[in-house]
Subunit: 793 residues, 2 copies
């Protein structure tokens, strides 16, 4: 292992140092101004109470450090014409990034009313954390950002996601020492084992050790220098340390260290691009240890503030009641000497303005941070070419995800050259039957590879790590920088990224109202190894609740699909991969299963999203006596098997089968753009007949979606009710009352006209259930007639 030593030279001339420091002062000045001021932005008159915001919001602590890094990156971008974006991990660094994009001119170009003069500065200050203004985090509104602050821990995964397949890009990722404690961040350092210097860009992690969170010191700031160094060497990096409090000294250290780091990155890339990938390089990273709230007030009310957790948010408030606080604020802001930084109009003076890069090299204006600009459509073959032959419904057998795996394989092949498509999975690609993809690409690893490894190489485009957070974060970073992706995961464990999904959905919602943000590719989940086929893995693997979670987000963002077979899954997958700005959740089985629809029928069905399956119904030319609705592959199977039994016993019973692919159709049209009109819903479900709804997920979700519809009171839903263990596939549906026999009983219990035969059939169903229990306890497997049932008509 190579331990890095801090470069000892002082690369900055005195003049450069002065200018860089002045630029930094300007950014700090603007940051404080945003937090505190409503007016008098240049302090050209004595500061008065009415110039100060009545509600003080925002976070100072991390901001000077973020500003410091920004100005130093600017220097290197200019010097070497670097293509760089900036990821601000620390949650509340909003004022810093806004200040810097304003200083470099981007902000005014994106928001014309925030002009580069005193009037614009006043607006800049006022809007921050102000009703109708901008949030206190780095946010979608912030030019140059692909990463919302707030929830923490995703700086590095977003950075790596941005760097994949962007060979010229350097992603500077500032990691807060608070967020470094999160699980998502702690494992994300290992992303370097998935980055290939030949084809990918670089990530330069900068761990910003300012020592404190809200109220506690940070873990990484309180371990020894040796341990810290070992930790990052262990993670595979070459750590450089920039440490101090004296700006002049730290400026020199940072300038020298960044020079070294950039040179090493370029040398690694040159070497790899000339000679090909040989072994994982030891990428540089920087540990920057500077005081929290650096350059802020040393003490407030006699208590240490700079370099303490007291600087985390607003270092002091209560300005109305403590006049000394007003003076403290004025003194603090004046310590940056705004009169030296801004001209008479309030514009940054030209000697400093020239420190910023130009046009798209400005980090606020780098097109990678507004990925929609760079987005190209995926090349997608005709999904109909992958159709499973379904001569008659319910007879042929296929593995839905395996079929879609072939479709994905060819998408992968067609876009190999444009390098804009990757598949993400927590070690589950093959388990989820998408392994046809491995015919054209590998799994990627730049760690050591053994000859016996299966489809593993530094060039692979399948990203597998047993970390759902890393998969999700990489994919988000990849999408936000204008590429396409696909995430496959076991259904139960996708909850691990519930909170990350929230943040991405919120980001998408917000960007829809920001005109300069261009649409990005949708985030597509294929959840398989789902609840109904987790009999072998048991109760811990059984949870279909991600849908419930997703549906709490804005209807304009989320889509949920439950294709019942292979051809419908193909059609839905094609649709999702072509969509923009959504989160699409597809749930489909991976096991060999009955196929119902040929391709024409599948396309028609998916286009409507919901429909009557005429071939399974016998209510033609009249009202049905009962509607059997189903959503999901296993519920569809059990529903059809129930229909089979009903037809055998009750020839006169008019049964209608409704299958739902697009779950959003069930909501009223007023609630979701895919929702059915009241009339269409009534046409399908009747206004007064019993509806037995077999659902993939928790049953109450169907009630939540349909409660406003006329016939809601007659809808009886079966679904997963949190019963399960290691058992047989059919027993899983039995213990949750979703099986064919229970469904038949449900019909018998609700349709009055069945007459004397009803009791007899009901008893027969109960006998079947008992017989099933005996059989599985004896043989450990399902009754063959049940297991091998096919649609007999």
């Amino acid at each position: 292992m190579t331990l890095a030593t801090t470069p000892q030279t002082k690369p900055l001339t005195d003049e450069e140092l002065q200018k860089i420091n002045a630029y930094w002062r300007a950014a700090n000045y603007l940051s404080v101004g945003q937090i505190y001021l409503l007016d008098n932005p240049l302090l050209r008159e004595p500061l008065k109470l009415e110039h100060v915001k009545p509600r003080l919001l925002g976070h100072w602590g991390t901001t000077p450090g973020l500003n410091f890094i920004y100005v130093h990156l600017n220097r290197l971008i200019k010097k070497y014409d670097l293509n760089t974006i900036y990821i601000a991990g620390p949650g509340h660094g909003g004022p810093g990034l806004v200040a810097n994009t304003y200083l470099e001119g981007t902000y005014t170009e994106y928001y014309h009313n925030i002009s580069q003069d005193a009037e614009g500065m006043k607006k800049l200050f006022k809007q921050f954390s102000f009703p109708g203004g901008i949030p206190s985090h780095v946010a979608p509104e912030t030019p140059g950002s692909i990463h919302e602050g707030g929830e923490l821990g995703y700086a590095l995964v977003h950075a790596y996601g941005a760097a994949f397949d962007n060979p010229d890009l350097i992603v500077a990722a500032v990691v807060g020492d608070g967020e470094a404690e999160t699980g998502a961040l702690a494992t994300s350092w290992h992303s370097n084992k998935f980055l290939n210097p030949v084809r990918d860009g670089a990530v330069l992690p900068i761990l910003h050790l300012n020592g404190y969170k809200i109220a506690n010191p940070t873990t990484l700031s309180r371990i020894s220098h040796d341990e810290l160094e070992s930790l990052f060497v262990g993670y595979g990096y070459k750590p450089y340390f920039v440490e101090g409090e004296d700006p002049a000294d730290v400026h020199q250290q940072m300038a020298a260290t960044l020079e070294t780091a950039i040179a090493e990155i370029q040398s690694i890339q040159r070497e790899a691009r000339v000679h090909g990938f040989t072994e994982r390089p030891q990428w540089p990273m920087i540990v920057m240890r500077t005081p929290k709230g650096w350059t802020g007030p040393k003490e407030v009310d006699g208590k240490k503030t700079e370099g303490s957790w007291r600087s985390h948010q607003v270092p002091f408030g209560n300005i109305a009641k403590q006049p000394d606080h007003l003076r403290l604020l004025e003194d603090w802001m004046k310590s940056y000497k705004p009169e030296e930084l801004f001209d008479a109009d309030g514009k940054l003076i030209p000697e400093l303005a020239e420190l910023a890069p130009k046009k798209h090299r400005r980090m606020g204006d780098n097109p990678h941070a507004n990925g929609g600009i760079l987005l190209h459509d995926l090349k997608i073959p005709d999904f109909q070419d992958y159709a499973v032959d379904v001569a008659e419904p319910g007879k042929a057998i296929a593995e839905a995800t395996k079929v879609t795996g072939k479709f994905l394989r060819d998408i992968m092949r067609l876009n190999q050259e444009s390098s804009n498509f990757r598949i993400f999975a927590p070690d589950e690609l093959a388990s989820n039957r998408l392994d046809p993809v491995l015919e054209v690409t590998d799994r990627v690893s730049t760690a050591e590879i053994y000859p016996e490894d299966d489809h593993l190489s530094a060039d692979g485009r399948v990203m597998e790590i047993l970390s759902e957070t890393s998969c999700q974060g990489w994919l988000e970073g990849y999408l936000l920088t204008g590429r396409h992706g696909f995430f496959t995961c076991y259904e139960a464990f996708i909850h691990i990224i519930d909170s990350m999904f929230n943040q991405h959905a919120k980001w998408l919602k917000t960007t829809r109202h920001i005109p300069w943000r261009r649409p990005i590719a949708s985030l597509n989940y294929l959840l398989t190894s789902h609840v109904w086929r987790q009999d072998h893995n048991g109760f811990s693997h059984q949870d279909p609740g991600f849908i419930d979670h997703v549906l709490n987000k804005k209807a304009e963002i989320v889509r949920v699909y439950l294709p019942p077979d292979a051809n419908t899954l193909l059609s839905v997958t094609d649709h999702c991969l072509k969509s923009r700005n959504y989160v699409n959740v597809i749930i489909a089985g991976k096991q060999p299963a009955l196929q119902y629809l040929n391709m024409d029928a599948a396309i028609k069905h998916c286009t409507k999203g919901i429909g009557i399956w005429e071939w399974a119904s016998n209510d033609k030319g009249g009202d049905p006596d009962v509607v059997l609705a189903c959503a999901g592959d296993i519920p569809t199977l059990e529903t059809l098997a129930a229909v089979d039994i009903l037809r055998q016993h009750f020839a006169d019973l008019k049964v209608r089968v409704v299958n739902v692919v697009d779950l959003m159709t069930l909501q009223p049209k007023t609630e979701h753009p895919h929702g059915l009109s009241e009339k269409d819903f009534d046409t399908l479900f009747t206004t007064d007949k019993p509806v037995i709804f077999a659902f993939h997920g928790y049953p109450w979700l169907i009630h939540r979606l349909t409660y406003r519809h006329t016939n809601h009171k007659n809808i009886h839903v079966r679904g997963y009710k949190e019963e399960g263990t290691t058992t047989t596939p059919f027993d899983m549906v039995v213990v949750n009352d979703l099986d064919r026999f229970h469904l038949v009983i449900d019909v018998i219990d609700r349709v009055p006209k069945l007459g004397s035969k009803a009791a007899y059939v009901k008893q027969q169903m109960q006998d079947k259930l008992i017989e099933h229990k005996h059989y599985i306890q004896k043989y450990g497997d399902d009754v063959p007639e049940i297991r091998d049932w096919k649609w007999p008509y």
Copy 2:
């Protein structure tokens, strides 16, 4: 830093080595038998197809390693009379732990029908992964376990949770190299900065590097030895390496290394307990690198199997169709020489049985792994002593969580000596206003402490790390070993542990049906800094959906409380801390807010969980014209303010106010034990009057809970509809239509009898909303009359 060197001695005599290896063979034999056999358990007749299970389920890969560690721990437990529990991190190690607890006799004591003879062994084999049998993971059914395999990543947090305040306990925590990639696990190594050798037990992490996950090599198995060593030194451990394939050699290494590790643990503890805590010790940990599927078939169908991902699950199946596989299985099982291990009856021979520890020293029978046995009630002062004085409803101001912070402070104080209560928070204790607790204890840290740190010491009982997964996992480990805890978190970010909550709730559900598992203390969440007071942190911090997630789990397990003020919060907190085997979710505000109920009224209200607030209603002696229902502190405030407006304008309107503390009361009694009867629900909500329901969370949750009730069609819910940004507190409710003015409009729109004044008042409400928008955009704060509104009657 000190780098450990592998101890070079060979501590085992030949005889010991032979015996230990024989015991290991026995465990491996039983493991394979569980995966494959239905009958012929001792292979005393030639193996035939009918002896083999028709469905082969389970995981072999990790099992021999787990067995290997178990037998070596047994040796040290006996030798030094250690008090040790075993945490099996790798997901599917079920057969191994079952085999070992069977060999040591615990299993038969817990499950009498699984006797220690051929008949019992046959049952042991059959039940594994068999319908009606036991899961393939280490599970609640497994004696000695506090940790379900399946979802991965929590081995270390559970281990540390168990070790806290258990000074004599050594928790051996086997970490799979697959799960080591998860975020939760990657950050959990840092738990050593929270462990105090004076008062806590020890965790001995054993990273089991067997190289492969389902289909991929593991990250940590493919970095260099140097990096691996640095990583763990960086994490603060002294890593020892046990590596090899030859059992005899690895037995000696493991025996020597475990001796060393235990000696170091004991020396660290002795030193600290004699001289007090001085600095964080470098605790030992072990990296054990052995082949995946060790001792299994080297090759199957010509493909490498031992030492490959092909050993992950069942190394070969298809036994019915490939007779050579039947022979392979027989040869494999016979390679363990069962005839040397088990006597004529099928019982482990005495020379081997004596290797196991006795009674409670057996890891399967250690009482810490059945924590309910050790559980003592918390000493809890009378919560009424902390009552806020509420002379009249809706006039006094208090901070609810601050008040409860004082209650918690005294609980902490009273239980200081018994050392069985801790509070967990992701750096949010003070932010959530529970800081009174710091009057009697500190935050804990065994990392470096500076003089300016705030209430931080190695003796603290408040556990703060910016990792929700660590907080959750520690707490789970602490509860499962028979102690009490309290987790406070920002509401939005509790979603980070959604999936961990699932697993704990499933564990609780399962244990309810295992007679020997004793009830443990409930897992209590206090979610604050909630959605309605995240105006300053903005959209990313706004998500009240954890309730929705929680309610998908079994009704018998989950409870959700929304106390509207300080006294109700006290009462609810008291109730939750005394409860067993639940997950309790309490949601309450931390900001200064109106108080409504004096302590007597609060107790009555909380006991019922729901009720009419007579003092706010004017429907006495008759039916109301409208019901205004509310759940949550801010919805309650807005509802009362709306009632105030309604009374001013419509003196004749009969308004009933219903407040809900216990959300579960809204469900039908058939669905939840707290549910109201249909009659009681109708009495509160009427059968036909409009109900305007102001709810803390997503509005559809109320529909989901109430859709079966008579008056459901008239329930109109306002709640969070995913609108928000950085704004003012009142504007947060306005943008979600939950404010008093919208509520008044909702009433006007639904009550026909209001006459000609209705249109005028409605217009006035709309004017108020516009006025509010203008005001906040000008002043950045809410209109004082709105902000400072109190109940005027």
